[in-house]
Symmetry: C5
Subunit: 317 residues, 5 copies
């Protein structure tokens, strides 16, 4: 679905997508075209109205591009991602901006709504394509931090389970560790090229972005750096957790073996007693004792208790 808005003289006006090629010719005008879940017709109309470059359109159709910034004679093409890993393709012209993105999830406020409200609130001061781009990118990047918080929570949960005393399902933990690491990896893969895109914008590679917008984009750049920093941090922590976990598993095995040895020795001790009094020697005084049987049972009980206390003291049980 295509939605086109003009921002003449501090006001907002919805326009027919078919008329935008007219609107963008007017001076002092800013046009923002937002396309959600684009159909082939939508894309053809866009390409036609704004003379978009075929290679850029091909990228839009294929999707799954890396975050990047490309320069064409009459416009620039920028690919970014939301924290939910939805691609947002942005065309930047001298007085217009096009955002192409997946369809909204019904009932959930899309990041574009938030962007629009924020832009229209602050529009009075800065109705430029650079500032609009800033608002879009800032909203995108802000979403990264809440994702980061989620990962932090998961990490803490994993730590508690790994370093805690309670029983754990190792296979589960391994799978979760692996999933969190995979997520961090994907996340980093988005954030790092996004940083490069922003650095290119700050180097003023896109001429239509005014100085004021560059100052603001510096702020977004800074946020991306912070996000990458956090991801790297989490990645390294995960590596440490994996190291610690391996040592803990090894150690648990150590404990199991000690316990095994201890009980084995205790049981074998009692068995030895029964073996001794099961021998068929003619001359074994105890065999004739009235309480001989109880004597033997007592010996076993003694061995068991003494062994238990002995191994307990050595911290093997």
């Amino acid at each position: 679905m295509i939605t086109a808005r003009c921002y003449p003289d501090g006001t907002t006006k919805e326009v027919n997508p078919l008329d935008v090629s007219e609107e963008i010719k007017r001076p002092e005008q800013l046009v923002w075209v937002d396309v959600s879940g684009p159909t082939e017709d939508d894309l053809a109309l866009l390409q036609d109205e704004f003379s978009l470059h075929p290679l850029a359109m091909e990228d839009v159709r294929e999707r799954h591009q890396r975050p990047k910034l490309e320069h064409y004679p009459s416009h620039a093409f920028l690919v970014a991602y939301t924290a939910e890993r939805n691609e947002v393709d942005i065309f930047i012209g001298p007085s217009w901006l096009i955002t192409v993105r997946e369809d909204d999830v019904p009932g959930e406020p899309s990041f574009i709504d938030r962007t629009r409200k924020r832009f229209e609130r602050t529009r009075a001061e800065h109705t430029t394509v650079g500032f609009l781009l800033y608002v879009v990118l800032d909203e995108l990047v802000d979403g990264y931090f809440s994702r980061n918080d989620e990962v932090e929570d998961e990490l803490e949960d994993l730590e508690n389970r790994i370093f805690g005393e309670g029983p754990v399902d190792e296979r589960d933990i391994q799978h979760e560790l692996f999933e969190v690491r995979r997520r961090l990896l994907l996340y980093r893969r988005l954030a790092v090229p996004t940083r490069d895109v922003l650095a290119a914008l700050l180097r003023k590679e896109v001429e239509w972005i005014d100085d004021n917008a560059v100052t603001h984009l510096q702020d977004v750049f800074d946020h991306v750096l912070r996000a990458i920093d956090m991801v790297d941090n989490h990645r390294e922590l995960m590596g440490n957790v994996v190291d610690a976990h391996l040592a803990i598993i090894s150690n648990r095995m150590n404990k199991v073996m000690k316990r095994m040895t201890s009980w084995g020795a205790i049981l074998l001790g009692s068995t030895l007693i029964t073996g001794i009094y099961g021998m068929n020697f003619k001359h074994m005084p105890e065999l004739g004792w009235i309480l001989g049987f109880w004597w033997a049972l007592g010996l076993m009980a003694f061995i068991t208790v003494a062994g238990y206390l002995w191994f307990r003291a050595k911290d093997w049980l």
Copy 2:
């Protein structure tokens, strides 16, 4: 086999390889010579017709070069690889292009056929040597992505087997892990220098490549970056899988040891009972009981069941 084609005025004409040195002198002419499974004679003819540099020809003869771009006075020499790791040597002149590659596999459409069809379809607009080079490289690099998909499938399969519950042949898994890692390594070794070759083309190191072609090559460059990105991703995931796998093996050993301890204890318990009633004391009341034997068997059954439930509750069995 040598196939030579001329593209004058938007049409296609097959020419005798022996005449190409004449053809390339005509203005506004583009000549493409494709050599599959070159014989020594083919190479000698090529070197003669196009005055190719001996060092470049030596590389063509030796094969197994790294992807690279070399500059000679009258032409450039480029080495690239298909996703199947077949070498493609490319000579680039002001108005001609030579591709040298291994023989076609019969019955399978070669990537050169696809390239030719695509080039002749779009030729009308851009009959330049730069655009022809773009089509060749784009077809090569596009092949990388389907390889990537294969690796992704294998990786997922390995993950399922490693994190799954079913029995697995560890030696198999180790071998497969190793093979996938080796493949990723080789793949990366091709993709990274290919990226550098493209970067050199984008820096316009080869003067015969027009601006329009550079814009298109930017797109191929972008694809190579994406391919490298994916390989790095897979490599890191493989590393994580290997970590997780080691922990899972350790843990499985832990489980085996717990089970061993449990059954050992249960069996030793029963053996102890038989030992007790096998002692030769004169005064052991149970020995005289009518149901003494059953009492002993009952004791063993009780120990077995109780032990089983106890260890079960501790999650050792």
Copy 3:
């Protein structure tokens, strides 16, 4: 709480925060405004008096920025951290400096007190904003070294426990190793961007910093390099400790298994003796011996002692 001081002609004068916009207009004047635990009112007043940029103010409000240096038309904005990881935001103007930080911990001398005393002691010579900045940053960075010493102590303690002979709680050690590594990671994350901030100052990116101050900042830069060096050192040592620890755990398991085997063999030997004399053969001479029982017990004692010595000699017990 806002405290504003003027340093005219080598003297110190406290001024009303509401008057600073007047003070900074006087020539040859240096104004230092220190804000601890800023309220919203404090920040509004500051922004008003010094015309601070809204984006910088937003960073001050949000906090948890990375150490960084940002340039605005009329001032620079710098974020640094104390060794205790408290953020210190610094605004640098041509003749004024603002430090914004968390509230002081009562009863503990804050690093700002130390800074002020040191600055006022050396002020006579260098009453410039650059020198004041140097004193602030030098105090901050000096704190890093005492933290480093703490980590060194912990590391030594861990080493002693890991390589020592005494019993240790593995889970504890794992947790501590993990915590120290996490701390080192966080510490590095602060120090590295701080180094970059200082490098930017040394490149004279902030024009109001005089040559003399740059010479002094070089010294701070050097300290940060040293701090990073130490952290990297500790990080690598930690990695080595983790490696060694894993090997030690493995080895301990080896020892437990050897001991288990040894005692198992000894006990099984004695049990075998009892089994032999428990057989019901009619013709077993020993069974009739007067001292047969003692003979058997003696055999067991012999096996036990011989086995013990044998395994002892092999260093298995």
Copy 4:
């Protein structure tokens, strides 16, 4: 031993080493002095005839330098290594080249013989010092590839033994793995600075090297890159082999433990039967059976076979 050759006008002439200082003064003349197993006298003569720099001569005397290129006013000094890790020191003058190397191994064709034959064969075209240097370096670097092939064979052998089914001596494998890794490390240490030396030559840091030679040296540079690539490849593969090997050892231990558990359980089962019929109860019907003994033995056989099949089915045996 010193051998001096002049190459005037396309011919070859051996000259007395004492006369070379005369020969090099003639125009259009190329002098090549080759020194094998230099004595102190040889070196003194060289230094005298060519006015070689004392620091360079010190390096020649000390040997074990890193591959490097050094510039002195009247000549350049280059250190390279053969694949067998024999040092070759090369002095490059405007019209002369000196190679200093260890003594030839008798009966083995030295790489210098190959170099000389190749140079004299192609000399007609290019009798320049740059081309002679190219031939020397090309012969050196070509030797690297045969070494690489040897490592590849060893690696394959190790893989087969590690992933194979046959019994292996672990200690041997560990030692071999370690040795191959050490060799790769040393090899890399030679190849990487050699690459840098060649890069310096390509940047035309040595003025006496003509353009034609640079084109040829580019080819050697390319070979070194390929050699480094292969070494890195092998190093990473070795790392993967080590990972896989560790997992395989762990897994083998798992198998041993399962087998141990299985046979332990089976034997304990039979022992339990003997214990049961070894009890001294008065009323045990089986004891009176004619075939009671066979019944018990049958029970044991049944337990053994059933246990065996059961564990077999679980893949524990």
Copy 5:
């Protein structure tokens, strides 16, 4: 203790430290002031005579700086370390050099003695401050190689113990491995910044260093590169040793377990025989045999020998 020497016209003259400020004013004069174990008075005198910068003096007082080179208006300040990790602070002026170092160890020739002798021997040719600096740094760096040799010996010793057959104390080996790695780390931390210092000198950042000295310093630079190379080599070898060691420990555990299983099975076999003939069946023909007991013992001996040979053949014993 301060020792000041002048080198006018190729001779050596000791001067009173209080007069050096006079001496350095004379043209064509070189002054070298060496301070060992400086007292506060010594430092004050130095600062006074040579107008040394307070920040540099602060570094001298604090010690434990990183190797570095700092530029002050009238002199440069350089920090280097001996192989024994003793700091040497060097001030470089237009015609003077100051070395500040720890006190000499009595009875041991200090590196400064060696430096002085060497300098005075070669002084005739090059009496410049640059050449003096070269001699000092060359002596320092040469010491690094003998340290390297020590590490190499230790490494070889560790290898022999780890890959050898003899019994080893694992805890000892772990500790030694760790210590060698720590030493390598510290060593690298000194060598790398020393390389950077030398690179700065080669870039002629200190103007008083003449071209001849730069040529010589190039040689020292080369030595440092070689030292770093060796350290990196050793570090990587240590990493490989650690890997191999872990595998060897694992494997040793495997062997212990196999042996345990083997002896366990053999003993259990004999025990089973005793159990069988300990059953109380009325009808067991062997019980009545004259040689029944010997038959049973023979069976056990047979099981033991057969089992031993069987496990031996499987290489489990």
